[in-house]
Subunit: 354 residues, 2 copies
C-alpha cells in the first residue's frame, strides 16, 4: 500500500461526544448564548479533534510550499517566474511577510520546494521535495504525470511526519509561493465544481483586464483539452494542478491522519485542501479556513469544504499569512472554551457571588 493510501486510511472522524460537551459548556457560560459568534463552533471543533475540552495550542507550525508553473508562458501573471525562487531565499533569510507574521503569531515557519525552477543547494534549510523544475504548460499537455502528482502529495505527508519527529504539533498552517499559481488553483475549483470559469477567476497578484482575459481563456482551454474526471482528484491535480498544490494536499492529509487541526490560507492552499478532501472527505473535519481572500474562487472553495473563514482582511498574498493570523483567533477560541466560567461556576443569577 502506498504512503498516500496508508495515510488516507488513517483519517478518522473526530470525537462527536466531546463536540457536544464543548457546545454545552459554551452555552452555559456567564454571557449571552452564542455571543462569541463563530469562535464558538470553531472551539467545539478543536475540542472534538483533541478529544478533550482542555485544548492548548502550544506548538504551531506553518509550511509554505513553493512551485513553478509552465502555464506562466501564457502571460497569466504580473511577476516573472524568477520571483518564486527569489522569494524562497527571502523566506529562508527571514524577511518575507510570512516570517514576520509567523513570528508575530508564534508559529514556526518552514519552507518546502515541491517544484521550483531553480537548483537549490541541498544544505539550504528547506524541505527538499522537488518533483520537477516546474510543471508543464497545461494549455498544451497535462501539468504532470499521475506518478508525479502522487509524489507531490506524498512529499507533503512526509513533511508532516518529519515535523512530528520533533514533537507534537498542535496546529498546522499551510501557505504557498509560486508565480502563476492562482491559475491552476482556479482551474481546480472549476474542474470540481463545474462552475463557469468567469465566475471563479481573479486578478492574483494584481493583473490588469487584458491578462485577466488571457487567464480566463487559458483555464477554459485547458479544461476543454483535458476534461479531467472530477471524481478522480489525482487526474485533476495531474492535468491542471501544480506541484506545491499537491504538496499542500499532502500536508492536509498528513495532518488529518495524525489528528492535527490544519488552517488553510488563501486560494492556493485551499485548492490543495480541496484535493485532499476529494481523496478523504473526513479530512474536512480537521480543516479550518483562515480568511476570505479577494479571489472570487475562494468563496466557492469554502462553500464546497463547508468552512467559515475567521478573517476578512482583503488579503491577496498567500505564503500562509492569513493562516498564521487566524491561528491566533483559533487559539482565542480554545481559551474561550476552557477558561470562561459558566453561570454555575460564578453563581450569577443568585446571590452567592457578592
Amino acid at each position: 500500500m502506498s504512503l498516500l493510501e496508508k495515510t488516507i486510511k488513517k483519517i478518522y472522524s473526530t470525537n462527536a461526544e466531546v463536540m457536544q460537551l464543548a457546545l454545552e459548556r459554551l452555552r452555559n457560560q456567564a454571557r449571552p448564548a452564542g455571543s462569541l459568534g463563530i469562535l464558538e463552533p470553531l472551539a467545539a471543533r478543536l475540542a472534538a479533534i483533541a478529544g478533550s475540552l482542555n485544548v492548548e495550542l502550544k506548538r504551531k507550525v506553518v509550511v509554505t510550499c513553493a512551485g513553478d508553473h509552465g502555464v506562466v508562458a501564457e502571460g497569466v501573471s504580473l511577476f516573472p517566474q524568477e520571483v518564486t525562487y527569489q522569494m524562497v531565499f527571502n523566506f529562508v533569510n527571514g524577511g518575507a511577510s510570512i516570517n514576520v507574521l509567523g513570528k508575530h503569531a508564534g508559529a514556526e515557519v518552514n519552507v518546502a520546494d515541491f517544484g521550483v525552477n531553480y537548483d537549490f543547494k541541498p544544505e539550504l534549510p528547506i524541505f527538499h521535495k522537488k518533483v520537477a523544475k516546474g510543471t508543464r504548460n497545461f494549455v498544451h499537455e497535462p501539468a504532470m504525470s499521475r506518478e508525479a502528482a502522487i509524489s507531490s502529495i506524498e512529499g507533503g505527508i512526509e513533511i508532516v511526519e518529519t515535523l512530528l519527529e520533533a514533537g507534537q504539533i498542535d496546529m498546522l498552517a499551510t501557505g504557498d509561493m509560486g508565480i502563476g499559481n492562482t491559475t491552476p488553483s482556479t482551474a481546480i475549483i472549476a474542474a470540481f465544481s463545474g462552475l463557469p470559469v468567469e465566475e471563479l477567476v481573479g486578478r492574483g497578484t494584481g493583473i490588469g483586464d487584458e491578462a485577466l482575459k488571457i487567464k480566463t481563456a487559458v483555464i477554459k482551454k485547458a479544461l476543454a483539452l483535458h476534461q479531467p474526471d472530477k471524481s478522480d482528484p489525482l487526474e485533476v491535480l495531474a492535468t491542471v494542478g501544480g506541484f506545491e498544490i499537491g504538496g499542500l494536499a499532502g500536508l492536509v492529509l498528513g495532518a488529518a491522519a495524525n489528528g492535527i487541526p490544519v488552517v488553510c490560507d488563501g486560494l492556493i492552499s485551499t485548492a490543495g485542501a480541496l484535493i485532499a478532501a476529494e481523496f478523504a472527505p473526513t479530512a474536512k473535519e480537521y480543516l479550518f479556513a483562515s480568511h476570505r481572500s479577494v479571489e472570487a474562487g475562494h468563496k466557492f472553495m469554502h462553500e464546497r469544504l463547508e468552512l467559515t473563514p475567521v478573517l476578512d482582511l482583503q488579503f491577496r498574498l498567500g505564503e500562509g499569512t492569513g493562516a498564521v493570523l487566524a491561528m491566533e483567533l483559533l487559539d482565542a477560541a480554545t481559551r474561550i472554551l476552557c477558561d470562561i466560567k459558566t453561570f454555575a461556576e460564578v453563581a450569577i443569577g443568585d446571590k452567592n457571588i457578592v
Copy 2:
C-alpha cells in the same frame, strides 16, 4: 477651564508626513502592492499616531466600563439589572470573557464603575467613578443632568491619566457592561444620524420579537420627548445616554489627548466614541474599530466615524472582547510595516539575492 475642555484642546492631528512615509514603505515591500489589505492603511495610521515607522505596541490596556440604566424598567433587556454588578464581580475575579480574551491578547484588564446600581466597597480593585446608581428612565425624563454627563466623561479622562502614571500606554481598548445599554446606544446613533430607529435597533443580548418592538417604541418615544440637539453631544448623552457611555467617551478623549491609539469594541463602546468625536472630530484619527457587531446600528456608527472594523466574528457580547482580539491584528499591522523587507532590501528582481 474644565478637565473636559482642557482635554479637547490637547487633541492634535496625527503626523501626516509619517503616514506618507509608512504608505511608501508598504508599497515598496517585496510582495504585491496592497496584498495585506486593510492592515496596510491601519499600520500607516498607527505610525502617524506614534510619529514613527517603528511602532511597538508593548503596553496594551483595556478598560471595561459598567453602568446601569433606568430604562430597563420598560422591559428592553433579557437579563435583570442585577447581572451588571454580578458581572463586575466576575471581572474582578477573572472569570469573565474579557479576562480570558484580555489575557490571551496580552492586555491589562481594568474595570470601572460609572453608574452601577450597587454599593461596591471602596477597596474593590476597580476604578470608582460612580456618578449615580443607574440613570433615570429616559422615556419619562432625561437619563441624567448635564453636570452628571460631564462628570461621567471626566471620569473616563481621569482613568487614562491614572493609568498613565504607571507608564506609557501603547494601545487602549474600550469595553462595556450594563444591562440594557444597547437601548441608549441605539438612541444616541439615532439622535446624531436622524436615521429611522427601525433601521438601527437590534436584539442586544438576544431579546425576542415582542421585546424588540418595545425597545424600538421606547427609543422613538424618548427621542420625541427630549428632541436632543444633535449639535450638542452633551445634550444627547444627558437625555438618552448612560454613565458608562459618557465614561467611554472620556476614555477616547483622554487617549487622543495623550497620543494613544484607542480601539473601540461593540455598539456601546462605539456610541461612546461617537460622543467623543462630536466633541472633538480630530479624536477620530486615534480611533480604530475592532469588529462588526451583530447590532445593525454598529455599521452606521462605523460609517459616521469613517472606520473599517478589522474583525467580523458575529460577536454580540461587549466587555471589550472584540477590541482585545483586534489589538492582536493591529499589533500584526505594526510588524508588517516595520519588519517586512522592501524589494530594495532583499534585492528581488535582480540577482543579488542568490
